[in-house]
Structures are given as structure tokens and as C-alpha cells.
């Protein structure tokens, strides 16, 4: 288990998913009901605001009011990431392919269209990026990180991270996230999660193939360099199909 789980101030709940009743299934909704109208009719004066912002208040203590992130270095920023990417993550949490029990629990019985709306909401937020915190990693480590990110390591069949995450590392619509504005602990925890199998993406899980080829030192180096590298002013993901990926990714349909 990646260490990052253990140092949160809540004990680590049982990770093995699936019990008799914690069950889920994404199914088409069928029967229009009278009660639906009743709930709607009750939406009068003394009601919570009819906004997405009010509906995602369950998320903001961890992710920030506009998805900008919080002081906890393992709680990621959501704002401005490609909507398709965020949606894929919410589906993965809902179905247990990506594991973080507090989130798995919250999303379990929400419908897919609603998860899409949550993803759209956070993708549309644009709070300022956090300032880059100077890294205490050595020059040698930072150089190794830069080299892996921009050139990869052909001998070990590691493609440049930029070949998928974009030349400016800002990602590509709909499914590839940017890599700047993330904190080093979060980046290494995610790469670790792919190597340990607690995070999986849609097959073919290209990111798993990449992460499996990285050593601990590689992970430390890319995380340090990425976190140390300021994001461009235009940090928006590139439009769909701007460049061709070195190999297929289930998260980014051709």
C-alpha cells in the first residue's frame, strides 16, 4: 500500500471492496413517478440554491471551493482539468477501479449523467494556479526528471511523458490531463498507485504500462521536476486530436 494513505489523519478503512449490500449498478432509469413532481413542487422558498456549487459542497472541504485544491498535498486540484478526464476518474471511483474509500463511498449510488455534470462543473472553474514551491531536490535529480518528461528513455521503452500529456504538458481533450500545477507527493502517489494496481484506467491502460517501467528513482525525479516547473499562462488542454499518441489509451478514444 502506498504510504500516502497511511499518513492521512483518518485510519485506513478496509480496502477490499464489495460487500453484500454495498452494491452498485449503472442502469437506465425507467419509471417516471408522481413523487418526482412532489419533490419538484417542494422546491420553493426554503431550499438550498439550485446550483452545482451547492450540490458539490460534499467535495469542497477536500478539493477547495472551486476545485483549486487544499493544503493537504494528497488532495488534488480539479479545476480546469479536461471534463472527459474528470468524468473517467469519477466513474473509476464509483466502480472501484480507482480506490480512495471516502470518495468510493460518496459516489457509489450517483448516476453517470450526474457524475458528468460534476466533471463539467469542475472543468469549467479557473481559479489561479498555486505558486510553484521551489524543490529541494538536487540538480541531478531535476535533470533526470526533465529528461524523462521531455525525451523519455528509448532504451527502457519509456516514451516521453510529453508525447501524451502534450508538448506544453497541458494535456488534451477529452481524456488526458495536464501534469503542471500538481504537487510532487500527489504525482508520486498516483504513479505508485498504478504500479500497485489501486488505480486503473480504461483498457488499454497506457498509463499503467508507462508507470510499470519507472523505478522509484524515476518517479521521484519526474515528480520533483514537474512540480518545480511553472505552468504556462494558457494552461488549457489542447483540443481533441491535436497530436497522435505513441500508443493507444482507453481513456482517450481515437
Amino acid at each position: 500500500m502506498p504510504i500516502y494513505v497511511a499518513i492521512r489523519n483518518q485510519p485506513d478503512p478496509v480496502l477490499e471492496g464489495g460487500d453484500v449490500f454495498a452494491r452498485n449498478a449503472a442502469l437506465a432509469l425507467a419509471i417516471a413517478t408522481l413523487a418526482a413532481c412532489n419533490v419538484a413542487a417542494a422546491q420553493t422558498a426554503n431550499q438550498p440554491p439550485d446550483t452545482m456549487a451547492a450540490r458539490v459542497e460534499a467535495c469542497t472541504p477536500c478539493h477547495g471551493n472551486k476545485g483549486e485544491g487544499t493544503s493537504d498535498v494528497y488532495f488534488p486540484r480539479l479545476a480546469g482539468k479536461p471534463a472527459g478526464y474528470l468524468y473517467n476518474q469519477l466513474l473509476a471511483f464509483k466502480n472501484g477501479r480507482r480506490k480512495y474509500p471516502p470518495m468510493n463511498y460518496l459516489l457509489e449510488f450517483l448516476t453517470d449523467p450526474y457524475l458528468q455534470q460534476m466533471a463539467d462543473y469542475f472543468a469549467d472553474q479557473h481559479p489561479a494556479l498555486p505558486p510553484v514551491v521551489a524543490s529541494d531536490a538536487s540538480q541531478e535529480v531535476l535533470q533526470r526528471g526533465q529528461s524523462l518528461v521531455t525525451r523519455g528513455d528509448p532504451q527502457r521503452q519509456i516514451p516521453a511523458c510529453g508525447s501524451c500529456h502534450g508538448p506544453a504538458l497541458t494535456g488534451m481533450e477529452p481524456g488526458i490531463p495536464g501534469l503542471l500545477g500538481l504537487r510532487p507527493n500527489y504525482i508520486s502517489a498516483q504513479l505508485g498507485a498504478w504500479r500497485y494496481g489501486t488505480r486503473t484506467a480504461k483498457a488499454p491502460d497506457c498509463m499503467q504500462q508507462v508507470a510499470a517501467r519507472l523505478t522509484e528513482e524515476d518517479v521521484t525525479a519526474v515528480a520533483a521536476w514537474l512540480a518545480n516547473h511553472p505552468a504556462p499562462v494558457m494552461n488549457a488542454p489542447a483540443p481533441k486530436g491535436t497530436y497522435v499518441l505513441p500508443f493507444a489509451c482507453g481513456s482517450e478514444p481515437e
Partner: protein, 418 residues
């Protein structure tokens, strides 16, 4: 609790079988298409929840079900001839639902709720079977159960059956309305509500006399309240409309569902027709018993608990009042009221403590597709603060619950979340 010999039960059943006819007449949708009816009934029985794995093929089984005795894996019930129930006859299927036996006579583990499904009529069983025969077959071998010795020995089920299994179709109560009987048929039969809403004893059984009396669900650490006591989830003083809203949409003017009950609403109850929902509401309201007077102790807090409660008010005003209101009035149905909400006043404080630690969303339903949520406070509040705020909401605004300790809060931090 009564322990009966299976033979006697069989005898009784054959005596009364004839009178079960009435309840089966009114089956959900008006369609006379047997497959559509079967699909609707399979919804009412929530077969999908156990028989479909996350992101797995529908009804192909393989869902892990942890029990105190080890892990069970649900079966493939698609019509695949090799790995599913493709070779079964309607008779075999009825026998499974009604008697908890495989076609070869072998005994099923009661995790398959045959102890409730035994009440299902023959006609309804046949409709469900016709529906299951109509879905795409999936070739996926059943995974073997992983049970500790001696539970791996199916002969043990015999003992369980003698103690807890009453075989027999639903028998309508002629002194009650057709609507009440329809509700009873759904709640006691396909709905298998008693599987959770009953005290679970060491053997994993439900004593008939304790049906619907509430209990802690093993492995999950959620308390399924009594459906008969108005001091728990008894619905005696709820309106039929509020009960129906709760069952069909997951939210209501009186309270919301969460935890395992959110699953039941999401996968099953939201699909039931207005008539069937109303019938269940009428029955549930009908079975609630007069409340005993509240325990006197809760009114007079000790010095210690009064300190706790004043800390609780501080925590509440800062973290909770924005949604639940300064007086616990909430903004129902989306932000539930906490004042006069029986689900937080029950003797067992497991649910409100877990609610505060884990937060939650009511289930997404047709009637409430975009629910509002509550953040988890596990990472934001200490054990003391959790105990304080839960003690506060259980005793403020005329609520009649009792204070809880930091230890109670701490123990539930490790409760499984999924």
C-alpha cells in the same frame, strides 16, 4: 423463537397455498407481457445488487460478499447453459426461490434471501424466470466460496434452516385491505427487508418473532432500524406521502436514506410503480407499534455530558448549521431536518456517528437525479468533536437521544466504506 420441523412447515404450506392467490393478482405494471412483469419483479427483489459485479456483465454473478464466516461469491443467473441457469426448468427455479435448494437438492446459503423469497407466488416466480431466460447468456464460471472451516460444510445449513427458515408462500390477512396485503407481500417477500431490518444473531439468521425489529448489519457496521418501533424507523407518525417519497426518491420532508438503504432505493425501490410504493407505505405505517415512553435518563445530562454537549453546539454552529439550520430545521427534502428526526435519536448511535464521519449523498433516483451531499468530517473533526456534535444533535431541539462517547466515535472510524 419457534423452531419447526420442515415437514410440518411443508404440511402447513400445502394447506394454505390456495389462499395466496389474491396477493399475486396485482403485479406492478399493467403490461401483460410476462417478461416485462418478470423484469419488474426482479427489480423488486433487487437481484441485480448481488448478482452483478461492479462493471461486470448483468446477472453474471461473481460479486464478493464478505460475511463473518468468510467470503461468498454470487452466482451467474444468466441463461448460459454451461455456467449459468440455462439448463434449469421453471420448476427448478421455483424450488430455488421457494425452498432454497439447488436442482440436485443441495442446500443454498441463506445469503441468497430465499428465507424471504419463499413468500413469492408461483406465478411471480415464473415471470422472473421467463425474464432471466430472455436476457443475453454470459459464459462466466462461478467463483468458489471462500468460507472458513466448518462453515464450508453445507450440511450446517440444515441446522440454520431448522431454526430460522419458514417455508411457505405469502398468506394474505383477510382482516386487512388489499393494499395492505400487497405491501406486506412486497416487504416480506421480494423486498427481503427483514434480511437487514432484524436483529442478526450469531448464526446469521432472523428469528420470525423478531422480524422487522432492527439490528446491526454484520461486517458493515450500519444499524438497520426497527421498522415497527416509532422510536426507530417505525413510520407510525409519518404521512403516506412522506413514506412513499422516501422509498421512491431517497429523500423526504422527514429524513433521507443513506448507507446500505441508499443501495436498496437506488437499485430497487425507485423502479416500483406508484401503486406498489403506496402499498408498501400503507403496510409499513400499519405495522408500527405504539412507542414506549422515552428513557428518563436522556433528559438529565450529567456534568460531563453537558460539557460535551456545549462543545457540540460550537462544532455544530460552525460546521453543520449552514445546511441543517440553527434549529436543526434543515431545508427538506435535500438538506434533511435533524430536529425530530427519529433516525438520529435511536438508542444505537452508529448511524449518526457514521454519517458525520463519512458524509454521503442520497441515491441518484428518477425522482431526485441530482442529490445534494454532505461532506465527510472524519478528517476535519477529532473523536471528541465528533462525539460532541453527535451528542448535541441527539439531545438538542427536543430530540430524545442519549450522548455518545469519543470512544464510540473512534471505533467507527475503521468501519468499512465499500
Amino acid at each position: 423463537m419457534p423452531s419447526r420441523s420442515p415437514i410440518l412447515v411443508l404440511l402447513l404450506w400445502s394447506l394454505f397455498a390456495g389462499s395466496a392467490a389474491e396477493a399475486q393478482q396485482k403485479a406492478g405494471p399493467t403490461s401483460d407481457n410476462i417478461v416485462a412483469r418478470g423484469e419488474y419483479l426482479a427489480r423488486a427483489g433487487d437481484c441485480i445488487a448481488c448478482h452483478t459485479a461492479p462493471e461486470g456483465r448483468t446477472f453474471a454473478g461473481g460479486r464478493a460478499m464478505p460475511t463473518p464466516f468468510g467470503t461468498l461469491y454470487s452466482s451467474n443467473i444468466t441463461p448460459d447453459r454451461e455456467t449459468g441457469i440455462g439448463k434449469w426448468t421453471a420448476e427448478d427455479f421455483y424450488k430455488a426461490m421457494h425452498t432454497g435448494r439447488f436442482p440436485d437438492g443441495g442446500l443454498m446459503y441463506p445469503a441468497m434471501p430465499f428465507a424471504s423469497y419463499t413468500k413469492v407466488t408461483r406465478a411471480d416466480s415464473e415471470a422472473i424466470f421467463a425474464y432471466l431466460k430472455s436476457i443475453p447468456p454470459v459464459n462466466q464460471r462461478n467463483r468458489e466460496h471462500d468460507l472458513r472451516f466448518p462453515y464450508s460444510n453445507r450440511q450446517l445449513i440444515l441446522g440454520w434452516r431448522t431454526l430460522y427458515f419458514n417455508e411457505g408462500e405469502f398468506k394474505p390477512d383477510p382482516t386487512k385491505s388489499a393494499e395492505w396485503n400487497r405491501g406486506a407481500y412486497l416487504v416480506e417477500g421480494l423486498g427481503h427487508c427483514g434480511m437487514c431490518h432484524s436483529p442478526i444473531n450469531a448464526l446469521g439468521g432472523t428469528a420470525q418473532s423478531d422480524a422487522f425489529k432492527g439490528g446491526l448489519i454484520p461486517m458493515q457496521n450500519w444499524y438497520a432500524p426497527s421498522l415497527t418501533s416509532n422510536r426507530e424507523a417505525g413510520l407510525g407518525d409519518w404521512s403516506i406521502q412522506d413514506i412513499s417519497d422516501l422509498l421512491q426518491t431517497g429523500v423526504s420532508q422527514r429524513g433521507v436514506v443513506y448507507g446500505p438503504m441508499a443501495e436498496v432505493v437506488h437499485n430497487s425501490l425507485q423502479y416500483l410503480s406508484d401503486e406498489d410504493t403506496r402499498a408498501m407505505a400503507v403496510y409499513l405505517k400499519g405495522i408500527s407499534e405504539p412507542s414506549p415512553p422515552p428513557p428518563a435518563s436522556s433528559v438529565l445530562p450529567t456534568t460531563e455530558s453537558s460539557l460535551l454537549i456545549s462543545l457540540g453546539k460550537t462544532v455544530y454552529d460552525k460546521n453543520c448549521a449552514s445546511c441543517h439550520g440553527a434549529q436543526g430545521e434543515g431545508k427538506p427534502p435535500h438538506w434533511p431536518p435533524l430536529a425530530n428526526n427519529q433516525s438520529i435519536e435511536m438508542q444505537s448511535a452508529v448511524n449518526p456517528i457514521r454519517m458525520v464521519l463519512n458524509g454521503g449523498y442520497p441515491p441518484g433516483t428518477k425522482g431526485n437525479p441530482m442529490p445534494y451531499g454532505m461532506p465527510p468530517f472524519a478528517g476535519l473533526l477529532s473523536d471528541n468533536e465528533v462525539a460532541a456534535v453527535v451528542s448535541y444533535i441527539r439531545t438538542a431541539w427536543g430530540n430524545r437521544g442519549t450522548p455518545v462517547s469519543a470512544r464510540d466515535a473512534n471505533e467507527l472510524r475503521s468501519a468499512p466504506l465499500n
